[in-house]
Structures are given as structure tokens and as C-alpha cells.
Amino acid sequence: MSDDIRNGGEEIFDEPTGSMAEDSADEPTASPTESEVEADGAADLPPPAEPPSTSSQSGSGGMGRRDVLKALATVPVLGALGYTALRRRGLDADERRRLLDELGIEDEGAALFSEFETRTHPDKIRVGVIGYGEEGESLVRSLGFAHPDWFEERREAKLEDPRDTSLEEWLDQENLNVELTAVCDLFDVRAERAIVASTQTIRPGGDTRQLEPAKRYRHFEELVAAPDVDAVIIATPDHWHTRIAVAAAEMGKHVYCEKCMTRTEDEVWPMAEAVRSSGIVFQLGHQNRQMESHDKARQVIEKGILGPVTLVETTTNRNDPWGAWVWEIHEKGNPRSIDWELFQEEAANKVPFSLERFFRWRCWYDYGTGLSGDLLSHEYDAVNQILDLGIPHSATASGGIYFFKDGRDVPDVWQAVLEYPDRDLTLVYSATLANGYQRGIRMMGHDATMEVGPRLKVTADGLSTRYKEMLEEGFLKTDRPLLTYQTGFKGVDAVTTATQEYFASRGLLFTYRGGRRVSTYYLHLREWLSCIRYGGTPSCNIDRGIEEAITCHMATKSYREGRRVYWDPIERRIV
């Protein structure tokens, strides 16, 4: 150490690269002082006894210039790293700011979660459920009434995959202060399941009241007339929706109706009339309305980030029997446990008792409209939610029964093309029930394309007019999204670096920051209940329902009649 001072500066530069030669110990010139101090400096070895003479060797108390230089040898490189990192951070932030400014997008968080505060609801709402099949059971569970079998299933699912937190999420739901007071199902087993669920004391939001069991009604008319029913959930096959909703509305009962709103075009108007004239709160069961990313997608459209959108592509791909409505035929299903005659009272064609038709009703036009009412309805409603499309000018549909040749009369591969000339836009729906490739929704504009799912992804078009300059200067690239939005995250993220893009593309469905994972079913029901209690119109009200039903029926009509059909806005009918 004291060496440095004696020898001047030259040796300093040798030191880090090799002046501490292996044989230095043998060097006669090596001063004892130096080796002492060096050994002492060995960070992890016990320092040898220190001769008091050491400090006197160096004027600065054992710390020479060389020591300082060696000690700080790595600092300049660190400085360079720090500078580069900070500069890059600054550039990233600048680019991000510029991009957000150019796009006119605010950097605020999600609307849904900021309004999502838990409140207590002093007035109880008594709900009746009509149709307690798989969907009815899901809806009732989302209200807070689960069958014990479900708890068992959740426990088993958790054992198999510890990531399964559906039970915790359900328990974290708010106490909606509802009671399940009535059930109507034509199949005894299901009606009894609903009664069991209605008395469970394991419920969300810390609600442990012991409630009276739900009453079972053989006929929906008795249920909607019951004085202890304020609101009904209609989760029957489509052919029953209108008659039940009309009866409920006439009794002043609020209605949550599953999609498709009606089975036929003709049924749309009595339903709409009954809802409007009674003033009840009506919600159609398109829970996609609650998806945060759809709200953001609307913002993207409103800001004109995509430019003129001329083509929207939306899809359904499923590849399992369940997805093709080959649902379980319950072992206890038989003519004694099922009220078949009542089931087909509203059906277009009467047939002898059929377990297939009762349990797999979506496969026949007598009870539903197949892909149209089941899945185009969802996809259309999502697009309608984002673009406010309304009823199309015309519809053309085609398809066939190409895979599930099991006696059904609805197609399993089906495409519909909906034209909106006044919006200069075509909506193409394409579906197969025999392939599971996920295609999602794509909105194609002159300036950019938006992919809509739980995550939004907007990518600039290489030949965009609006982004021409930004593309030319390399500020925007077409191989990377210019904007992504991840449900549940803090806000909009303008992606400018590959790392962020990688992170965003990992497809996390939820996050634990700023929000919690919540079921859209629950949110959709909750919105309906809030409107009943505090006023307002649900997001999927009767007007949206009319648009959904007419659109689906136009496509169905086109397919069944083998021709292009049109909407007559004067007569308000499909021609």
C-alpha cells in the first residue's frame, strides 16, 4: 500500500491486471507491510495479527491512493451502467408519454375497479330461478347460493391444482343481500338441488344467515305470482324465454334473462313491450358487458386509434362434445321425473318424450337456434358493446352439420356475414365446434388492428396514413403492438420495449394489484340488482336485447332459407 506512494503512479495501472503475480510472495522487493495489509484485507478470512507498525508506513493511515483506486476500480463501469439505464428509462418514459399523447389515451386505471367499492344493501331482494340447469346453477351460485357438490368439486380442483382459487374468489364476493326463495324446474333432481343450495350457510361476503329453503313451483306462472319473489332469473331453453319474461313483467317482477333473448323474431316484440310498459329492470345475460378490456376497447375506438374500421372478425372455436351441446343425460331423467309436456308446450314441433331433446336442447331449432343464439349472440354483443353497431342492414349465413352427425338439426360449422353499409363495415362471424384454435375478435382499421380478449392488443398498420411519420422514423413498429391493455393491471401500457411486450403477452388473466379477480357473472347480476335497488339501466338492457335477438334471427333466417335477408327499419321486420 505504502508502495504506491513510493513508486509513483505507474504501478497503479498494472495492479488490476496482474501485478499481483503468483510469485509475488517470493519477490524479494515485496515489503512485509504490503503483504500484511493484503492478507488483512481478505474479506472472508480471519485477519492475521496486525503489527502496530503498519499504520506508520503510510501517511494516510494505511489507505493509499493505490488502495483507493483499486477499491473503486469498478465504479466507472457502474457509472456507465447507471447512466445507460437511466437514459434508457428516460427514453422509454418519453416515448411512452409521446405515444399516449399522440393517441389521446389517458393513463388512468380501469373504470371498473375504481367504482368497485363494497357497500351494504339494507333492502333484501328475493329471487326466484326458473330453469336450474347448468347455467341456472352458475347464475344462482354467483348470487351466493352454491350446492354442496360444488364445494366438493372446488376442494378436489384445489388438490389437483393449488392455483385454483375459484372458491376463495367466490367467498370474497360481496354479500348481495339476496335470498333464493323460489325455484321452478321441470326435472325433479334439479329443482331439489336448487332447494339444497338455497339453505347453505357457506356464502360470500361473510353472510352466514340460515335461510328458509326455496319453494318449488311446478309451473312458472305460480312462481312469478308468488308474493315472496321480487325478481326472477330465466335460464330455461330459449323457446320459453318470452312467455316467462312477459308473465314476470306483468307481475312487476324484475327479469334477468339468459341469451339468446328469444327463439324467434316474432317473440322479440311482445317481450320488449312487456318490459317497457311494466318498467321492470331487465338484464340480458351477456356477462361480457362486464369485461374491463371491452370498456378499454371502446375507448380505443372512440379515440379513433384504429382509423376507419371496415372489417370486424369474430369467432367461436370449440372442440369437445360439451361445447357442441352433447350434454350429460342425467341417469334419473325419465318421463316421471321430467314434465315433458310442459317442456314442449312452447316448442314449434311436438315430439314424443326424448331425453336427448330435454338435456341437449340446443341441438334442435325447436328449442333454440344453435350457434346463432348460443354463441354468435355473445360475440355480436361484445362487438356491439364496443362499436354500437345496432341491427345490421343485411345478413348472409352458411354452414352445415359436418362433424356431430348425431341427429341434431342445427349446424356445427357456421358462418354469418353481417353488413353495415351506413357504418362502412362488415362483421364476419365464423365458428366450428370441431376445432379448438382460439382466434378471438379482430377489429381492422385503416391505421391499426385491435385484438380483443381479456387482453387488448393494438398494432399499427404498415401502410397507415395517420402513423406514416411515426412509422417512417422508426418510432412505431408493425411487429410490436403500439398499445396493450391487460385486464386488472394498473392502466394502459404503451409498449415500446421488447421486455414489456413479452411480459404483456404472457396472457395473465388477472392480477393482484389495484384489483382482485372477480367473476363476470357475478358482476353482471350485481349490476342488475343495483339497478333494481338504486335505479338506472343495466348495460345489457332491452334495447341491446332487441339488437342481439334480431341480429341472431337474421343470420338464422338466412341460413335456414338459404338466402340473404334484410332488415326493414320502417316495418321493423326481417325481409
Binding site: 496482474g18 503475480a21 474479506a43 477499491a71 392455483r163 411480459f503
Partner: protein, 167 residues
């Protein structure tokens, strides 16, 4: 000048220490400046015998926030320690612990498959484990006292003890 290393040995050891430090530091800084970063995704992809523990960390917002902070600052401080050669031993030990946790969260063992694509092909040994092994070298072949702030710390301590013995 006597040293336990030759010049090239010292250079190589400092290079390993510094490179790992750089990696840690920049990982930490990039997480620090990214408001969207969270360990949730990584923890959720956890597999292997310790996965339940990591999943629990991710499932609780409170612990997750803590883990995130711990990660960011752990990476930054260990990175600084290794690069500057200050408190090198402590930094190295913590670095090894962190790498061990990263490794055990998503071990590339036969039979485990991950949805996050790996950029290479790994069987049992992955880059995390190699970095861990390199830190073991750094731990048992220390250099902070030769090239690094520890040199000053040691000297300051030496001076202190000398003055003490005079007193």
C-alpha cells in the same frame, strides 16, 4: 505484492463477480422503473415440490407486494455489492439464496412443463443454477478486498484496530 491469485486469475474472478453484479443490478433497476412489474406471473408458474409455497406468496396481495419489494431491492443491493465489491460476502450469500429460490420456483426438472417459453433447452441445469454456481466461486474465491470497496473497509478497520492498540 503478495496475493493468493495470479493476475489473470484475479481478473477472471473480478469479471465473474462484476458480470453477475451487473445482471442483478439491471434486473432490479428494470423492475424498479416498470410500474407494471410484479412477481405474480413468475410465482404462479411455479412447479415442483416447493410450488405450493410460491403459489401462496402470489395468492395474497399483501405478501405479494412485500415479495415484489424484496425482490427489487434485493436485486439492486446484491448487484451493487457485487459490482462495487462492497460487503461482497454478504451480497454473495444473499445472491445465492435468491438464485436458489428462483431456481426452486421453476426448476427445469424432467416431468415439469412450463407455459412461459424458455429461450433455450434445459435439463436440471439452467442459467439460474449456473449463475448460482458462479456465485459459489465468488464466495470461496473472494476479490472484493483486492478490487472493491471492501479493500477500503478492511483498511479502515485495520487502521482503527491499530489506533486502538496504541491507545
Amino acid at each position: 505484492m503478495r496475493s493468493e491469485y495470479s493476475g489473470v486469475q484475479l481478473t477472471a474472478l473480478v469479471a465473474v463477480r462484476f458480470a453477475i453484479g451487473w445482471h442483478f443490478f439491471y434486473e432490479g433497476v428494470s423492475k424498479f422503473v416498470n410500474p407494471y412489474w410484479t412477481a405474480a406471473g413468475y410465482l404462479e408458474s411455479s412447479q415442483g415440490f416447493m410450488s405450493e409455497y410460491f403459489l401462496d406468496l402470489a395468492a395474497n396481495p399483501g405478501t405479494l407486494a412485500f415479495v415484489d419489494q424484496l425482490n427489487v431491492w434485493g436485486l439492486i443491493l446484491v448487484g451493487l455489492g457485487l459490482m462495487l465489491g462492497g460487503l461482497t460476502r454478504t451480497a454473495t450469500v444473499f445472491g445465492i439464496i435468491m438464485l436458489l429460490l428462483y431456481y426452486l420456483a421453476t426448476p427445469p426438472w424432467p416431468g415439469l412443463e412450463y407455459t412461459i417459453p424458455a429461450e433455450g433447452a434445459y435439463l436440471i441445469i439452467n442459467k439460474t443454477l449456473i449463475e448460482l454456481c458462479a456465485l459459489l466461486v465468488t464466495l470461496f474465491f473472494p476479490t472484493g478486498h483486492i478490487v472493491g470497496l471492501d479493500r477500503l473497509l478492511r483498511l479502515a478497520r485495520a487502521r482503527g484496530s491499530v489506533q486502538e492498540s496504541y491507545a
